[in-house]
């Protein structure tokens, strides 16, 4: 299916909760309500026309005014790809986990939490994955100040 049809399918299925779609960009995407992410994920995976069974990438992006979570989905059977985006406020970014839909999301969400501080409700064990467990601050945020010492060792 072409990105245009996917965008149409999404807006027809979820109407107002699909905020914006850009099927003709190099990387076709559509912005989605953060609260509806679990439903859309289950729909996108179970619907046989889409059957996006391969979550390729789940990454956080810090735009100055908001934090976004990007889901790049791919279907092994139909060989088409589509991107979903959820926009969240910078102060307390929180979204529901999609670990139940794609098991790969478990580690990717832990990395997004570690790097951006996005809290994924319902995640099995939301801990830091790359930085040490007692590391303060979220490194990949734009306003991140480098700590001078870590456990009084110069960094």
């Amino acid at each position: 299916m072409t990105p245009g049809e996917i965008a149409a399918l999404l807006t027809e299925g979820f109407g107002s909760r699909v905020l914006e779609s850009k099927p003709d960009a190099i990387n076709p995407w559509s912005a989605v309500e953060p609260s509806a992410i679990l439903e859309i994920a289950q729909f996108v995976r179970s619907d046989e026309r889409l059957s996006m069974d391969h979550l390729e990438l789940l990454g956080g992006v810090d735009y100055k005014d908001r934090i976004e979570v990007v889901y790049v989905l791919f279907s092994m059977t139909h060989r088409h790809r589509y991107t979903l985006k959820c926009r969240m406020p910078r102060e307390a970014p929180g979204i529901h986990t999609v670990e139940s839909v794609w098991a790969v999301a478990n580690w990717h969400e832990r990395e997004a939490y570690d790097m951006f501080g996005i809290v994924f409700e319902g995640h099995s064990d939301l801990r830091r994955i790359l930085c040490p467990d007692d590391w303060e601050g979220y490194p990949l945020r734009k306003d991140y100040k480098f700590p001078t010492t870590y456990r009084d060792m110069p960094v």
């Binding site: 960009a25 990387n27 390729e56 992006v61 790049v72 098991a103 990395e111 790359l130």
Partner: protein, 373 residues
């Protein structure tokens, strides 16, 4: 082999400094005697914040950093990054650059699979294949060194072209090497792959079912080992792979259920043979031309975002670049194949024995530089 365990549990820390964790990985094993009830991987010991670096240096300077991610297959890492930025900027490269990139990427794939096969023999206990594989890999490194001057981290692929053209006589040396190398692979098979002890150690161990593999986002030889025929070079051809004919080896489960360690290992060995075929055809398609003609003076990609995948020896490597029109990438996220395979490790290694944990880890062929970035 699902052995349930009873009795009290001893936690055994395997790593981060352990001879066969292929890098700084810590496995927290909950063992009862030899049976391992639960293996929790801890990563992050080699985290060098590549993505933060990438936001502070310009596009051309990110190249050498991408080499450092998967240091066993640096050429494929650069290639992924360079192709993504070229697609974002809409740069077209001439046929010579495309063919040289295919040759270099496939040679690097052979070298990386040789490391995987050699260290896997070492993990299972026989040291000789390790030395034989590294002896053959040495010739490939000499070819790289003669072309771009470095053996392991090349920075050879630039955005829009290559650092240097092939030296005269490179094609002759390359074909000579391929003719010498192909019988060596059968030699290795007779020593290791068909050895009954090796088959016993790897055939019914670490079964990764196709559904579990897709759900855990496993890609590359590990996915093909589970019988799923999926390869980015065939599925979404880039760089001119569409007019090169080669097959995708898939695990068929000759010795026990599909998706065992032996299948993943055998897929890599057969892929080495396929790569030799690809290199021969790419050498035949070489046409004269200037390799640096379409390198832009100043690299300022338009505003926008891009996600592109390439087939690196360990799986499907994806670069997601967001550009705000400036000289530096606004956000660069890397989808690393070993990261996803490692998340499936806990599921696969439940109920295995300690010796199997090493066999499963070796068959996944992970590189910690790529997991921790």
């Amino acid at each position: 082999m699902k052995a349930e365990y009873s009795g009290e549990v001893m936690t055994l820390n395997m790593g981060p400094q352990h001879p066969s964790t292929h890098g700084v990985l810590r496995l927290e094993l909950k063992t009862d005697g030899e049976i391992v009830a639960d293996a929790v991987p801890h990563i992050g010991y080699l985290h060098r914040c590549f993505e933060k670096h990438a936001e502070n240096i310009d596009y051309a300077a990110v190249g050498p950093y991408t080499d450092r991610m998967d240091y066993c297959a640096a050429m494929n890492m650069e290639l992924g990054y360079v192709l993504t930025v070229e697609k974002l900027m809409g740069i077209q490269v001439n046929n010579r650059v495309r063919c040289i990139r295919i040759i270099m990427a496939e040679l690097n794939r052979i070298a990386s699979h040789l490391i995987a096969a050699g260290t896997y023999g070492n993990d299972i206990g026989s040291v000789t294949p390790y030395l034989w594989c590294f002896r053959d890999r040495e010739t490939i490194l000499d070819l790289f060194e003669e072309t771009c001057g470095a053996r392991l981290l090349y920075n050879y692929n630039w955005i829009g072209g290559l650092m240097a053209d092939l030296r005269p006589g490179f094609e002759k040396k390359l074909v000579e090497f391929l003719d010498y190398f192909e019988p060596q692979v059968d030699n290795l098979n007779r020593l290791l792959s068909d050895n009954y002890i090796f088959i016993q150690r790897t055939a019914k161990v670490g079964i990764l079912s196709p559904e579990l593999a897709v759900s855990y986002g496993v890609t590359g030889p590990n996915l093909r080992g589970s019988g799923v025929k999926f390869d980015v070079r065939k599925d979404e051809p880039y760089l001119g792979y569409q007019d090169i004919d080669f097959e995708i080896p898939v695990g068929k489960g000759e010795h026990g259920p599909v998706g065992s360690c032996w299948d993943r290992y055998m897929v890599r060995i057969r892929e080495v043979k396929e790569s030799c075929r690809i290199v021969r055809q790419a050498v035949a398609q070489l046409t004269p031309g200037d390799v640096q003609e379409s390198i832009p003076k100043r690299i300022k990609p338009p505003v926008g975002e891009i996600y592109m995948r390439t087939e690196c020896p360990r799986g499907e490597l994806g670069y997601y670049i967001v550009s705000d029109g400036g000289l530096k990438p606004y956000r660069l996220k890397v989808k690393s194949p070993c990261f996803t395979v490692m998340s499936a490790f806990r599921e696969v290694s439940r109920g295995a024995m300690i010796a199997d944990i090493i066999a499963i880890l070796g068959s996944f062929d992970i590189v910690l530089g790529e997991i921790d970035r």
